[in-house]
């Protein structure tokens, strides 16, 4: 248990096979340290989403186990254990996934009120604080459909932060955005990283990976190919597959 003080997430040889017998994760082992920003890269279909979604129990495991903030997650994990983890791990999706029938404020206060039992005024006050941090406090009363993609994604980040998570997971948070909207979301993530949040980020934004990541991990075909600090990763990757991938996206 000593290690869990400095480690946020540990994966021990986790394997995931989808119904179509496709092996999306193949004995993946890794460690995410407290307070670090880990960027995950890899070609489409390499299993990045699957991996990050196992961290909060959105995907089940077939074998191996995870240690998330000291909580064990394996093939037989029961729903309550998964729920305990989800209360402490926030997630931001590529498509925002805001609740379109709720106002921005209600989107953010829903979980604090229903999951943590916060009172409405408390939850609302905290939500406004988060919206201010995200620079969209004036949108609080609007509905998701009335916001731009960048604004929606910042709301999604605020919504995930409302439960005061210890780890944040981002699955391609800027891939669905217009190029000119990408920066505002990356800036929000950057300031989150500066505050010491533990973050696992699937992204192909090279500048973000270079400047914000503590480590960059490259995945292919359900395996981790290599993992190193950004400078090493981008200038002298060991594996040929990584170098080929970097040449393609550059």
């Amino acid at each position: 248990m000593n290690q869990s003080i400095s480690t946020a997430i540990t994966a021990h040889a986790i394997t995931k096979t989808y119904a179509n017998a496709h092996r999306a994760l193949d004995e993946v082992s890794l460690e995410v340290r407290q307070g670090e920003v880990l960027v995950l890269m890899g070609p489409s279909g390499s299993g990045k989403s699957t991996l990050i979604r196992t961290f909060n129990g959105l995907e089940s495991l077939d074998s191996g186990h995870l240690d998330v903030l000291g909580l064990r997650l394996d093939a037989e994990a029961d729903p309550r254990q998964i729920q305990r983890i989800r209360k402490r791990v926030g997630m931001v999706f590529q498509q925002f996934n805001l609740f379109p029938h709720l106002s921005i404020l209600e989107n953010i206060t829903l979980a604090p009120m229903r999951v943590q039992g916060q009172s409405a005024p408390t939850a609302r006050e905290h939500a406004m604080l988060l919206l201010e941090q995200m620079g969209i406090a004036e949108q609080a009363e609007k509905y998701p459909a009335q916001l731009s993609g960048g604004q929606q994604q910042r709301v999604a980040i605020a919504r995930a932060l409302a439960l005061k998570p210890e780890v944040m997971l981002f699955d391609e948070p800027t891939s669905a955005l217009d190029p000119e909207r990408v920066k505002e979301v990356l800036d929000a993530m950057r300031s989150l990283a500066d505050q010491g949040m533990t973050m696992v980020v699937v992204t192909h934004e090279l500048s973000f990976a270079r400047e914000v990541a503590d480590r960059v991990m490259f995945m292919d075909a359900g395996r981790i190919v290599e993992c190193s600090d950004p400078t090493t990763f981008f200038t002298q990757a060991k594996e040929e597959r990584t170098r080929r991938f970097l040449r393609q996206i550059d």
Binding site: N56, L58, Q83, R86, K87, G90, M91, F93, Q95, F96, N97, L98, F99, P100, H101, L102, S103, L110, A111, R114, V115, Y143, P144, A145, Q146, Q152, R159, A160, L163
Partner: protein, 357 residues
């Protein structure tokens, strides 16, 4: 003609009549067949309208309607207690108006509008209590209920029962538990395979058989139960359509926030599904109101039943057309009111146009 209208509307309002006239003329010359058909249709419509109007003004004898208004409203409800159903219908009308009004800025109206859903729910026990009696009101047996007030009571109470029942069935139908899913599906398929009139007959004849002799539940309640059981199957399918149109990512986002399955359903999925189902549910509600007239065949003197019993009266012999036109107008009026209410509900919600797909 239609093409011309389409063009005209595409170019948008400020109606420039001379220009439209010129265009109509040009179109007429270019498409003679089109023009001929349009003319024939216009003449036919005018002829039908003229005939109906002369019938309504000259030939029709509306005394069968005008001298029996209290009957149409309340049936054979005791005369000195008629204020009760009338009060209830008045409350319904007032509530409908308040719902349709633009949201008020302040005052009593604003307060009323805020608790509208509760007011609507309260209408049902209020109707039953006012018509049936109790709480200091003398009790009036359901035998004496009738007319429009009975039609409205049948419609509102069956709808209010069918909605939650239908939602439960829809949830059962989409459940992952095989037994629940199978039984919901069997129920829905069965109810949709049986004609409504058969269900109503069973309701009148069978429900008493299942109950001990002492408990005599009244015929109106039996009808309501039968309508609700029948409508629930259709409601379930409409709600299921709504449920299935909500992308799984909504549920995922809710789970990722730590919401339980039940909470995700209640706060995220169901509200959206129901809003999507509103147009289809409106159809069901309108159909339900019209179907209550079937009870006239089973001995309840609701609106149609009153009409039939009046026609059986020698004083009004042969006045079928007047009675049915009048009933048609009444049903049209109430179904329109329902459609307006539904549109109001649709519009009251947040803009849902852009789903994060």
């Amino acid at each position: 003609m239609q093409a011309w209208l389409r063009q005209a509307s595409k170019r948008g309002v400020p109606l420039d009549l001379p220009a439209h006239g010129r265009q109509l003329w040009r179109h007429t010359r270019r498409h003679p067949l089109d023009t001929a058909i349009s003319l024939v249709v216009v003449v036919l419509i005018a002829w039908a309208a003229w005939n109906s109007a002369t019938w309504a003004w000259k030939a029709a004898d509306w005394s069968v309607v005008s001298s029996n208004l209290p009957l149409y409203l309340n049936g054979s409800y005791p005369a000195d207690e008629r204020w009760r159903p009338q009060l209830w219908m008045g409350a319904l009308a007032a509530l409908t108006l308040i719902t349709l009004l633009k949201p008020a800025q302040g005052g009593l109206l604003r307060w009323l509008q805020r608790c509208l859903p509760w007011c609507w729910i309260a209408m049902i026990p209020m109707g039953i209590a006012l018509l049936g009696g109790g709480l200091g009101l003398s009790s009036v047996p359901s035998r004496a209920w009738g007319g429009l007030s009975l039609t409205l009571l049948l419609t509102t109470t069956s709808a209010a029962l069918a909605l939650p029942l239908g939602i439960l069935l829809a949830l059962g139908r989409t459940s992952s538990l095989p037994l629940i899913q199978l039984s919901s599906r069997l129920y829905i398929d069965l109810m949709r395979a049986v004609p409504l009139i058969a269900v109503l007959f069973f309701g009148q004849l069978l429900i008493p058989l299942f109950l001990p002799v002492e408990i005599e539940i009244n015929r109106v309640l039996r009808a309501v139960v039968a309508f609700a059981l029948f409508a629930a199957a259709y409601v379930a399918e409409d709600v299921r359509g709504g449920l299935q149109s909500i992308p799984a990512t909504q549920n995922e986002a809710a789970s990722a926030l730590g919401l339980s399955e039940l909470q995700s359903l209640r706060f995220v999925v169901l509200p959206q599904a129901l809003r999507i189902a509103v147009p289809a549910l409106t159809n069901q509600a309108i159909g339900l109101m019209q179907n209550t007239s079937l009870m006239a065949l089973l001995g309840l003197v609701e609106l149609l039943g009153i009409g039939r019993s009046l026609l059986a009266n020698p004083a009004f012999i042969g006045r079928h057309l007047e009675v049915y036109v009048w009933l048609g107008v009444l049903y049209w009026l109430f179904c329109t009111a329902m459609a307006l209410l539904a549109r109001r509900i649709e519009r009251s919600g947040p803009p849902m146009s852009r789903h994060s797909v």
